[in-house]
């Protein structure tokens, strides 16, 4: 990875990329035209997998100081050209230059922008139009939004203690931010840049994901062993799905039709498959699963699910037809989160 360019140039590049979204969407129509990105917390790199062949095609170095600097949450721009990676050191007490979100152009693996994010940014989300990035800042209990084109921070809000997960609704209206220690979700109105509500979910909420129509949000609770189902019209929990107290759910992948959720169960080395029409578990995938699946992502065509397995440093490949593990791919050390994006067109 080359030295990062100065910010002004970097954000000029990002602005151009944002304008190219239409092209990116066209690329998304092609079958198997996806890239899987897995952030490896301890080897401080990103494993890039071609989902057509399930082969590792690249490893993006995030830092030359693995064990001191770590990538965690990621988001992929709608055109697939940029991945946004939350980077921090291991010391949440001290704000350092390592605490930031970097924008990496996956065509060149160059850092093309960075967003200062004090307080250990843990996870990051990109708005559906690709113009904003939002982050959960773990150590300082804040959620913050950034303008992709200028790199400026648009707003920051106090959220619950140990902010963790962040997601933006498909219509772009709401930002949901989870907080582990207070067991809460904070809702930000993105247009008016104001907090509209905090609400309680299960114990130690990790990740939040929206259904594709935006009517529901799903929040995993690691200690609670639950998924809270949220009605986004009222920002209220309407149902709690029990996965088992030892399930330790972390990341959630929503199937493209929103009819199923795939939940990475870190504690039991399992993936829970939930039918969203009745919120029942329809399958628990354990056989041949890697150990401690933490991250999970589904291809936009809904055929394949990937899990990032933190204890076995691997990626499990799950066929959504048979709901079984059909392969395993080597990841870096401490595979943490998984994201899928379309293959970007040429610059």
């Amino acid at each position: 990875m080359r030295a990062q360019p100065v910010k002004q140039r970097a954000f000029g590049v990002l602005a151009t990329l944002t304008l190219a979204l239409t092209f990116g969407t066209a690329v998304a129509q092609e079958a198997d035209a996806y890239r899987l990105y897995v952030a490896n917390e301890y080897s401080a790199d990103i494993t890039v997998v071609d989902t057509a062949t399930n082969e590792v095609i690249d490893t993006i170095t995030i830092s030359g100081r693995p064990g001191e600097v770590r990538p965690r949450g990621m988001a992929v721009s709608p055109d697939g050209a940029i991945i946004y990676v939350s980077i921090s050191d291991f010391n949440p007490q001290i704000e350092t230059p390592e605490d930031k979100i970097v924008a990496i152009d996956v065509r060149t693996n160059e850092v093309v922008g960075e967003f200062r994010a004090g307080g250990n940014p843990e996870r990051v989300a990109v708005s559906p139009d690709g113009t904003q990035v939002w982050a959960a800042l773990e150590a300082i209990a804040q959620g913050a939004g950034y303008d992709v084109a200028t790199g400026e921070q648009l707003a920051n809000f106090r959220v619950g203690v140990e902010a963790e997960g962040v997601a933006i609704s498909p219509d772009g209206k709401w930002v949901y931010i989870t907080a582990e220690a207070t067991h809460t979700v904070t809702v930000v109105d993105r247009e008016n840049l104001e907090v509209v509500k905090h609400f309680l979910v299960g114990n130690r909420p990790r990740v939040v994901e929206f259904s594709n129509d935006g009517t529901r949000a799903y929040v995993s609770a690691e200690i609670g062993g639950t998924i809270s189902v949220v009605d986004t019209s009222t920002h209220s929990v309407i149902e709690t799905i029990n996965l088992g107290l030892d399930s330790r759910p972390v990341e959630i992948a929503v199937d493209p039709t929103s009819s199923r959720l795939y939940v990475a169960g870190g504690g039991t080395s399992a993936v829970y498959v939930i039918d969203t029409t009745n919120n029942e578990i329809v399958a628990t995938i354990r056989e041949q699963m890697g150990r401690r699946p933490w991250g999970i992502a589904i291809t936009p065509d809904g055929t394949t699910v990937y899990t990032a397995n933190g204890l076995s440093d691997s990626i499990s490949v799950i066929d959504t037809e048979c709901l079984c593990v059909v392969g395993s791919i080597q990841a870096g050390r401490g595979a943490h989160s998984a994201e899928i994006g379309v293959i970007p067109g040429d610059d």
């Binding site: 291991f90 203690v161 905090h198 309680l200 609670g224 029990n242 030892d246």
Partner: protein, 353 residues
Amino acid sequence: MLFFAGTATAQYAQRPFFDDTLRISQAYGFELALLRLEVLDLVGDDLDDDYLEVIEGFDADLRRFMGSVARADADLAEELEEAVEEVEEAAEDGEVSGEAVAEARELLQQAYDLVVPADVRSDPAFAAALIVELSLGEGGVGEGYEEATEGELGAYTMGYVSLARVVDLWDAVVAPAADEQHRADVEEMWEFLDTLYPEATIEDAIVGNPEEAEAPVQRVIGLLEAIVDAELFPGRDLFALSAQLPEQLAGYCEAYDAGDDDLAVEGVIAVGYLYFSADLASFLSFMAPEVHEEASEQIVALTGLEPELEGVEEEEEEDEDEDEEEFVPVEDPAAACRELLEALQEAHEALGG
């Protein structure tokens, strides 16, 4: 002000933190005090400020159980207090004697047997709850490693001896109740934790993830829950916790009214510690800060407990000298207890109760 959310219906059969709150708190105090003596054994006279901080913890440990010891055996209580004081003073002077440590240990053990009988401690769910405290609580395995990354060398050694103790508790009490797979899974985590604590003392801060020890500890606790069929995360259901705390506290407030301050303060410590350690404090500090402020103020006044809430920035730096001040109980503890009770009842109402 209601924050009610649908809660999990799944439950384990036992709830030691709710059903045996006081005795777990007392046992935790005994265990910590014994571990501090262990640290002294390991470090000897070579005590710098880091290790003196470990020794200063005796005060808080003893407050968890001394009232009960005194009621059961006033002579033993007096001897124990003198023995611990002697060890503390010797440590401060850099002249720790093995004999004094051994005597304090012997007396502590006698008192432990008196207050928390062996048959209680041999219950797997009770032992598992103690493992939780010694793993995730103050002076425990997770905290020891975390503080070692901040250069707290004494905390590291405390974490080291805590790890040895939780493995002992596992071997002696819980492992016999585990099936083969659970045993293998737990032991794998112990092996991993051993790699984080390879030796009793370190000379420099650890470089790495401060939460490295917490993840396997959390994994162990999840396994222990299944093995002993007991709820070991008391804050898993904040609503249930918020109902439990005022219910328990009411009895201790009555004890204050009856002049039984020794019992009352031990109870308030047990309740107050749960309030802070099981995330109710974090939740309220965010969602109902005025309720939290009142509750925490009264807990501190009654017990001297003052845990930091992670992720909440302090408004101003604490005066270092303040830490060294001896705890002085509030003048009218019965009134303070009633105020705390009201705050905890409000907390429960805030959660939909």
